[in-house]
Chain length 162, copies 8
């Protein structure tokens, strides 16, 4: 993977079940990406080092998934001016409301783009990352446009058995 453009970061290994939705979508789109586990609370230096070097390392967009007091996306955003997309992981207790508020309620000056809680959010994080690239890349835009049409087509073809 010599030319990664999208980084998918998650706070713990258990987040992979959710974040795989993002990874699989990126695979489907044949996007350049890398996937890593890094924790704002357990490996803060790695997060800082990664975030500060991200742009220089060719990364264009960062997706960060974390649960509970989900500081990961915000801490990454603190160290870079690249767009950071946050995925609030669903938690057993508060069902991801904690993750959502910790991800989305960023102070003025340091944005994180929050997706929905859980798997839908992870999938959408990947699509949104591609939309960012697609804003200036005709090829990606074409793929996204086709994806959107296929999605609509699938809905139209549903036959309900009622």
């Amino acid at each position: 993977m010599p030319n990664p453009k999208i980084a998918v970061i998650m706070g713990s290994q258990s987040d992979l079940e959710t974040m795989n939705e993002a990874v699989n979508l990126l695979k489907e789109f044949r996007a350049d990406y890398e996937v890593r586990v890094m924790s704002a609370h357990r490996t803060p230096k790695e997060v800082a080092k990664f975030s500060e070097g991200a742009r220089k390392n060719g990364i264009k967009v960062i997706i960060a998934g974390a649960g509970g007091a989900a500081a990961l996306a915000g801490v990454i955003a603190a160290h870079t001016t690249l767009p950071v997309i946050g995925v609030p992981i669903e938690t057993s207790g508060l069902k991801g409301l904690d993750s959502l508020l910790s991800t989305v309620q960023m102070p003025g000056g340091v944005p994180v783009a929050s997706m929905a809680i859980g798997k839908a959010g992870a999938k959408n994080a990947a699509i949104f990352a591609l939309e960012i690239l697609g804003a200036q890349d005709k090829d990606v835009e074409k793929k996204l446009s086709d994806y959107k049409k296929k999605m609509a087509q699938k809905v139209k073809e549903i036959k309900l058995n009622v």
Copy 2:
């Protein structure tokens, strides 16, 4: 404004007080932008028409602010593959929790990037829009980087009177 790149849309005129945070930031960065009132519930055709034509009209990112059952950002995202950033407007009753959930809990396939509730979210929507452009524009990236440094500098210079 012959070459708009960022569109700032809001659901009603009363949202302007919040959305001005975005507009002012874009002014400060001398970004190309346009501002419009359009409502997913009151002028749905205008929203559809605008969203479908946005890319062709040179728009690269769309910021959409709405409150309550805030469908605006999601409906725009339904019609385009441009990145759509949602700003949940604070409401008098539920304090923007309704706006937030209506904006962020999008189904898989149609992402909206939600910012924080209210003014901080509006400001961050503008910064995030610039980060999207900056991902592939050195100039914008430079300005964002300077902004980030100045912001940090201001914090460092605070003298507390305690």
Copy 3:
């Protein structure tokens, strides 16, 4: 189904499990109805086209079920002056609180009539649709009245084993 009067719309096929409560009630009442999957976010044009043509096509009431950032009922209501009844589908994360607020917190001018979250809400959407017709149709009113009596009778006949 030559003369449909009640339309039951849902945002995705997975909503059918819930919305079947509405469909079954309509069957039981031998009502004229049609059932379709249409998504405010994935097939917005179909939603717009359906909603605008609904009255002309003989539809008198529209029931719309959706989950998460549930824009469906509101977007339909944006395109028609027919009464639109919303059913907030229960979601895995926030348990339908997101669906409820996205459905019910409509801005002044564009009403959606929200039912309860989940299956009870779907069933009640069908009854409420019949009540709307029954407001001016003696036959329907008679059936609703009988239904209400039977329901009460069933409660009265419960023998608790305590």
Copy 4:
């Protein structure tokens, strides 16, 4: 008022500030209506008597606004098969979340159509009541259609000073 068609009921006099939004809309539409204070908790017999006799007295739709443990709309719905529209009044403590859940979470068999919390909800209750009548009354439908167009027109004519 010999031929009332829409009844506007509220649980206490202090709800009038909110419910006036409904009353004024009905006035604007020159609808037949009556307005009363009746409480599910303080005057339950009046509520029962009113609800049972409503259809016979020419009422076609009932709007009921109440706050807190807002039982009013549900109790009215318990006594009639007329469509009942609930308006959750905003409360000082829980901001109407209590009113909303008490109004909308009705059990299967006895629907209440909930509007948004507060003034927007009251206004929409009136429009929704008219939509119910309009489903089978060309005149009302025409007025609603004009109202919708004017509303859209107003949005289109907004000139933002940014």
Copy 5:
């Protein structure tokens, strides 16, 4: 059961699983009680009739369990000056938060004494009913006092295997 003193009412048969906690406690205390299913929304007349006649029929305290838009306890309280204890039944969607707010947020003038959501609340409703009787009945008070001591004793005798 010639001399019932405590009435246990529930809104539907499915509430019995929860309310059995109350019934079993009353059995254990050999209290006089009766158990009935009655619904504020499906059999409102029975609720009114029961509540109005309760005092004359020798009832001293009423326990009422209901879920969702739980109007039962409040509607009973509307018809009597006997103390009414409400048990919010846990719901599948909102987990009883709806039941709790519908039960506890009564308007000034018509109190309902709310217990905790679910089984603990049902059990406590029975104990609280006995405390009401015990406030003026030495015998009941003695039993409650013994119960409290035994409960404490059990806690003290716990041997943890750590």
Copy 6:
């Protein structure tokens, strides 16, 4: 006050504004009562001593108002088998949701009867205390019955200016 029957306890002096609703109602009913400030967290021994001696001192019902992590009513209930009524005081931050859950979610075995958040709850605590006494005191019951009738009468006499 030689023969107090109802004790009104509050956790801090600032709760008096709310709890005065209870005191005034008791005054209006010429009930025997006493009012004290005692804190589960700041004067726990006083609370224990008071609660243990309450029955012997002629108290029949205890009303306890507290806010935030409102332990007062529960701790009193831990020390007595008298009925304890809890009033959740409205807080500035969470608006009394914290007070309500801390008051009402008692474990099985130790009931607290929770009233509504704030002033309505305080007033109802007094009425409920009187209902407890009235369950076996014809005089109190008569007064409550008159109060209920007057309350209904007042509602019936409202003339709306619409």
Copy 7:
């Protein structure tokens, strides 16, 4: 265990499943500790006696886990100036939101240090207790520092299979 330094208290035996996370961490660190079941609501005198004597008995930190209207940590804190750490136990209904608010929303003057809801919170309570001791004990501090490094190392060694 002649020299206990950390006391782990829980409100009921069923809390042990959660609190074992604290116990096991303390075991792993070979800390001096004791574990007891004591209930603010069912054995209030034991709680008072234990808390008042804790410092004299060589205890330096108290961990208290409880669910629902979780008064335990606060009541212990009322009786001692030792640091008290609260663990909100996850509840079936409100998922520990009730436990959290009852634990954390203490009034000014009587602090409780709340950890996260459930097992993560229990584990962290033990670590935090050790941090308190470690603030002035090099040995403990060394162990905590090693633990932190190992934790980071584990994260770094994760190999994702994507």
Copy 8:
């Protein structure tokens, strides 16, 4: 201030109004402390540097106040094994629920001790910091004990004017 023991950190200058409650209490106790503004999102390097060096610089306890997506306390805790106390600042929109969940819901391994939302929490953070020192410092313990007694005394001396 040659020998600081307690550090009071806040995320922005506007937090000072709240955090002054902590500062004033520390003044009253003549504690050694220092106060600084540092932001996890705007000056992340300063936070990292400060936290890593804190123990070496003689700090024993860290108090950190922040609002919204309040990452500050958690990020500090990520870099040190000193006890970190979090104060969730009340926010205009969600009233500090966001701050609370972001502060308290820390993952296993990295504890933050959360206080109540707002001023009571800030005051308690200072008391709790002193309790930590007092666990092994007789002098501080004596002062805390006196403070507790005075607090109780004040409650006992309240004369209610009822």
